[in-house]
């Protein structure tokens, strides 16, 4: 058909349009990281890449970023599954709980981070509440929960921020799937734990996996939450990239492009995983 052929030609072009700015950015990053263009460029060389990738601070930042993103994603996922399984009914309490769980979706990441600064800072709400309760009587007796090397505040803030999105996904999956499969399993003699393990969980997990991957990659690339809550040692990958990119020493600025490529590699892996998870989901639904 004529219309179809037109569509087929239009597509790679228009898809390219969406990806073009990113692809130009990748191209530039590759060229700048290998010394072909930009400040400190002296012809093709992998010296800079090798040098940056040999830095201890880069690896520490990368592991911190991946570790905290994994921890926050795992917390949010566990919370979403727990809420979805607990409040899947049609009663008033169930509907109220589902509305409450989804409500914080309106809060931008920056605001979520600001709230956790107010909550967990050394003279924040938690410290004041603990003082009032007679538990911690001085600001320094309060454990550091923000800027701490473990990223406690960062992980909690982002887990809280992403919980509504993953909960909404989990609610939707349970609502559209219904409970037929589970009832069948129960009538065949499966114990409640077994029904969850062998029916509910696999069904939920398949459905929310694309969302879980998106959340992970979003947290790993998060700039504003890291600025407000993350430690300076280890310095998270997005902050390290920003720091190098704006380094007063022009010689060091191209380092940022090596780090950009590391960040993009994480995203590319996530995009591939996301598409794989989505197509599995599509074939599951079909």
């Amino acid at each position: 058909m004529i219309a179809d052929r037109g569509g087929r030609h239009a597509v790679p072009l228009s898809a390219l349009l969406a990806a073009l700015p990113t692809l130009v950015g990748v191209g530039y990053a590759v060229a700048a990281a290998t010394g072909l263009i930009g400040d400190g460029g002296r012809g093709f060389s992998l010296d800079r890449t090798a040098h940056v990738l040999a830095e201890h601070v880069v690896w520490r930042g990368l592991f911190w970023t991946l570790g905290t993103a994994a921890a926050a994603t795992a917390l949010a996922t566990a919370g979403a599954v727990l809420l979805a399984v607990t409040f899947r009914g049609t009663g008033a309490a169930d509907r109220a709980a589902r509305a409450l769980a989804v409500l914080p979706m309106a809060v931008p990441h920056l605001v979520a981070a600001a709230v956790f600064v107010l909550l967990l800072g050394q003279s924040g709400f938690l410290a004041r509440a603990l003082y009032a309760a007679g538990i911690a009587r001085a600001p320094d007796s309060m454990p550091a929960l923000i800027y701490d090397p473990w990223g406690t505040g960062f992980v909690l803030a982002l887990a809280w921020k992403e919980l509504p999105f993953l909960s909404l996904l989990a609610f939707t999956i349970l609502a559209t799937r219904g409970s037929q499969l589970e009832e069948t399993a129960r009538s065949l003699g499966a114990a409640p734990g077994e029904v969850f393990r062998r029916v509910t969980w696999p069904m939920l997990w398949r459905g929310i996996l694309p969302g879980v991957i998106a959340v992970f990659v979003f947290i790993a690339g998060s700039y504003e939450a890291a600025v407000l809550l993350a430690p300076s040692n280890p310095l998270p990958l997005p902050l390290l990239t920003f720091e190098r990119y704006t380094d007063p020493d022009l010689e060091r600025r191209p380092d940022a492009f090596v780090l950009v490529l590391v960040g993009l590699a994480i995203s590319a892996a996530a995009v591939a995983a996301h598409e794989w998870a989505r197509s599995r989901q599509e074939s599951f639904e079909a």
Binding site: A15, A19, T22, A29, L100, P104, H109, Y223
Partner: protein, 261 residues
Amino acid sequence: MTAGTRRTLLLIPLGLAALAPVAMLALTSVAGRWFYPDFLPGELTSESWRSLLDGNRLAGAAGTSLAVAAATAAVAVTLGLPLGRALARLNGWRRHLGAAAAFLPVAAPPIALATGLQLALLTLGLGGTYPGVTLAHAVPALGYAALYFLGVFLLLDPRVEDEARSLGATRVQIWTRVLAPMLRRPIAEALVLAFLVSWAQVPLTLLIGGGAVRTLPVEVLAFVRAGQDRYAATGALLLIVPAALAIALGLSARRSEPAPL
């Protein structure tokens, strides 16, 4: 533990997690002198809200954010709708490749996007300008819009268009008489989505705007870092408003119109 107790035990922290942050921000936004370890502020003041109405830095930044986000939404939906439609008509690996291409700017770390875009926009002379920041915001917003419309058009039967064509509708008529009325809701939702992507954007604004374009999130970030909690909390509450409105409107629209699409 019975299911009933577990539900009650869960409802309490759930309610706290949903409502306490806004309460904390509201209290901080009107707190006057408030020394540690007082749990509540010693005095209340409406100073930050009054100066907001007088048109202070925060008010100006909110205006900037509104304009940039509205322009971003217009650009992203104008390009994202035909892109999503085109992607939905592909099959197999082509659709996966196209969807991955649209997902790339969504998944790319904002810092990575910003460093690449800054070069392109500086070359065009758009660094530190409103159009430059808008175009930069439109890159991830377009990704979201395209993926959103991909989903919409996958559900929309393409035979509707064939039917209109066989009844003699022209290309333009198919868009104005058939698709536009059917897509009113999705278009409104996509506009909101793209608006919100721009509204909350930080790193792209910082790097492309180069300090000259002061959006609301940029000011709030500066106030938090400077320890000016009252202004930070006031701005943070403003930042929540559009998405909260969108969720409320979306819920009421869904209730009044049970069959989407």
